[in-house]
Symmetry: C2
């Protein structure tokens, strides 16, 4: 998310008096508790710290967004899904774009190494008709008040979270909309993520050939050891069971390294200690260096990549979602290499913010206007953000820090991108955390989920798959729902 700005103020969707807020907060908290819109309290008093729970942090009322731009973001999502797939297929491109950053970012370097080390194995999978790639992406936007456009903050291709809790938040706002005056619940767009995400997982698992009577395939959800967002994941697991009778096992990368192996018969079937073949590996971890504390975790990741299970994501998908690739695609002509129809490319570019390389060679050659952007950023740092290639949030540089880092210069800047600062409108929201509410000026970020399944050359699924709105106080600089800074919200379409 972008930091606060002297941005215009949008009209709040609903004006509430303090007398109305109290009972409505009670309605919201109880409904959230009753319907599994939960986070774990992490109270060490309980045998499992996930067992004692409380409502997820939430906004009492939805946030207004322009209908036409919201619907355009939904419409463009399949194009982003296809773009990720096309970029991921061009491994020389990925390597060329990421090599400079990899020199200063060991994590990117290691992912590139997995990509090259598994190339032969993956070619064999493809030749055997066993390549199944699953994308569960989320394209994150902020509304840019000056232009009136949603501009892409980033495109997440691994571990996109909150899809299930977000769908529950939409239902909560539908319920509250009927309980209170003034909110037209029909302006809440439907949010199919609670169905669309498990359906994509099931389609990918089925394509792997390991599901069905007598085959016993399972879905492995790759999780972090001390997972903070268990109920979002648990909803996905429950929906996989309820809608598809698919069993999910939760394993860390270390668990996979320790207990899984490639079946010597096929050479590529991932088999667990219990003898079950894995139909799909679904990563809700693996996006940060912290998830790979030792070589064992990297060995687990490589085993997944060599296996004939469906992978969400492949290493190539993960690399296609990096900021450095995002920045490179924004260069004139770069995106267009991967998008056959020029109208589609133009539509995608409607969502691109200004993005510039800080690689010294690019700046020297003023590629895509990099030199001019750096000059402007030194003069007006408040109009830019400096983002490291590394994932995880919380590492962006703004204002004076940005200026200082640019002045420092050096080769290390290759691992950063320079980005136009998006100026979102502020709203008035009632934020509810741990049952306590607070009325604040807020900023909101929109995420659109996309699902994509490809079995060798056949695209089985490619669709918009729901949305997420996260809202935070305008005075906090960044951070997500799980980190306690933002709350779950919904869009309320106007215009």
């Amino acid at each position: 998310m972008s930091p606060p700005a002297d941005a215009p103020r949008a009209t709040s969707s609903v004006e509430l008096t303090t007398e109305q807020i109290g009972p409505l907060v009670d309605d919201a908290v109880v409904w959230a508790n009753q319907h599994g819109l939960l986070v774990a309290l992490k109270d060490p008093k309980f045998v499992n710290p996930e067992y004692a729970v409380i409502h997820a942090p939430l906004s009492l009322t939805p946030v207004p967004f322009p209908r036409e731009r919201f619907e355009l973001a939904q419409k463009v999502q399949p194009l982003f899904n296809s773009l990720v797939d096309a970029v991921a297929a061009d491994e020389p491109y990925l390597e060329a774009v990421l090599r400079p950053a990899a020199q200063h970012d060991e994590f990117t370097a290691r992912l590139l190494r997995v990509l090259s080390d598994t190339r032969g194995a993956r070619a064999a999978l493809r030749a055997a008709g066993s390549e199944v790639a699953l994308g569960i992406h989320r394209s994150d936007y902020m509304l840019d008040a000056p232009s009136g456009k949603f501009l892409q903050v980033e495109l997440n291709t691994i571990a996109s979270s909150f899809g299930c809790l977000s769908a529950l938040t939409t239902r909560l706002h539908g319920y509250l909309g009927l309980r209170m005056e003034g909110l037209d619940a029909s302006s809440l767009p439907p949010n199919p993520s609670l169905e669309a995400l498990p359906d994509a997982l099931a389609a990918a698992a089925a394509a792997s050939g390991h599901m069905g009577p007598g085959r016993g395939g399972v879905v492995v959800m790759v999780v972090q050891p001390g997972e903070r967002n268990a109920y979002d994941q648990q909803w996905l697991q429950l929906q996989l069971w309820e809608r598809h009778r698919l069993r999910t096992l939760r394993m860390t990368l270390a668990d996979i390294a320790r207990t899984a192996r490639l079946d010597p018969g096929t050479g590529s079937t991932a088999v667990l200690a219990g003898g079950q073949p894995v139909a799909c590996f679904y990563f809700r971890a693996g996006y940060t260096p912290n998830d790979y504390p030792s070589d064992a975790e990297w060995a687990g990741r490589e085993l997944v990549e060599r296996s004939n299970a469906a992978k969400c994501p492949t290493v190539a998908y993960q690399l296609a979602g990096t900021k450095k690739v995002q920045q490179d695609l924004a260069r004139p002509g770069s995106l267009e290499r991967f998008v056959p129809d020029p109208r589609d490319a133009a539509l995608l570019r409607e969502f691109f913010a200004g993005l510039w390389s800080l690689d010294p060679a690019d700046v020297a050659a003023d590629v895509g206007g990099a030199a001019g952007a750096v000059r402007q950023a030194l003069e007006h740092p408040e109009a830019f953000v400096l983002k490291p290639q590394r994932e995880g949030g919380g590492n962006n540089l703004y204002d004076e820090e940005l200026r200082q880092r640019l002045r420092e210069g050096g080769e290390g800047l290759s691992a950063f991108i320079l980005m136009q600062r998006i100026l979102p409108p502020t709203n008035q929201s009632v934020l509810v955390r741990n049952g306590q509410w607070q009325q604040s000026d807020t900023l909101s970020e929109l995420g659109i989920y996309g699902t994509f399944v490809r079995h060798n050359d056949k695209v089985l699924v490619n669709q918009q798959a729901g949305h997420l709105v996260r809202t935070k106080t305008a005075s906090s600089n960044e951070g997500g729902v799980a980190a306690g800074f933002a709350v779950l919200d919904s869009p309320f379409l106007v215009g």
Copy 2:
């Protein structure tokens, strides 16, 4: 519930290994949390102690019950509903039966006083066609191993709880039954309480004439100040909203005394401070003297009784559910006065345990065999229970204490009844509390809900309305789910 006994051992419905139990407990806890099968943690750290929650105490597998006897208990429930209504209509009978106990029990005396003080007002309501009585009863049974019959422990006519959480427990066991081998989920009888209880409330509210466009009537749920079982109640509130668009206000008796009044225009319409008329008063409190710490609460109760709102229950319904009345109905010929069809009376008596008056006059005259029963109880106290007229549980006397109290004698014994001790079979259960499980020998109690709505002489609803099974370790003497002794369970029908 009865205490442990040298009773026969039933075969458990499912045999689980320790390796199977762990993952299944995790499935159960997560499902319960996701679906609102919750209790509040009462953690004072939170602004509202109801907001932080954990799964309700539950049994991992359902308990076997004989199908034919279970279905008979369902079938007989409408007869019990009609019986309560008939007994309540015979106020001279209620007064005659309860007067001796009232001399030693101030609570019963006070309820009788409300009954007589409001007699004129209630007659006027009836004359105006405005009498609406709502029964949400629960008839509690234990399976008596020697006879193979369900014998009635008590018939609750006020604040019968756990209807909603019980329906969720049935769903949980249906889910777990599909997740594990060996349990045939089709042997879990449907449990309609999550629909039937709110539907009866809505029917009664509608009959009051205060609902519908422009009339703005509300349902008042009368609750205890520090309610322990909030989520069971919240489900009822939510279902009233979702199924009937009825708003519920939670008020204590003191709140009612302070803010409600009878509208001077009609003389009988209960009106709240906000100006809304009350369509239905639904008591989830008011069954123990603790709920009436001062005259204000009694004034609240009397206001309800004088109002033309639907009442669940009326004071007469409440008195018809007392143990003393239960005992009197068991006397030869007594039940038959209220049940026109002798076959119905015989069917009801299938569920009666041995019950005897301890009123000195009754014992002297050996009414219903009272003198013989007292002699037997002195010799074999282990075959009897001594129960006070007072509600609330935890006050029963067994074994040596029972013998001593009988020997003490005195007029005070009029406030007790002597009851045959039911000898339930024990089962093996996995009990789960706060995420921790324990395998135990257990006893189970079955409750059958009944709903009944009468508008003047017209019976609008009279049905069986779902069930509840509570299970506790065979070694604990008594106590309920809310008190932390028992867990929620489901029946699994065999034979």
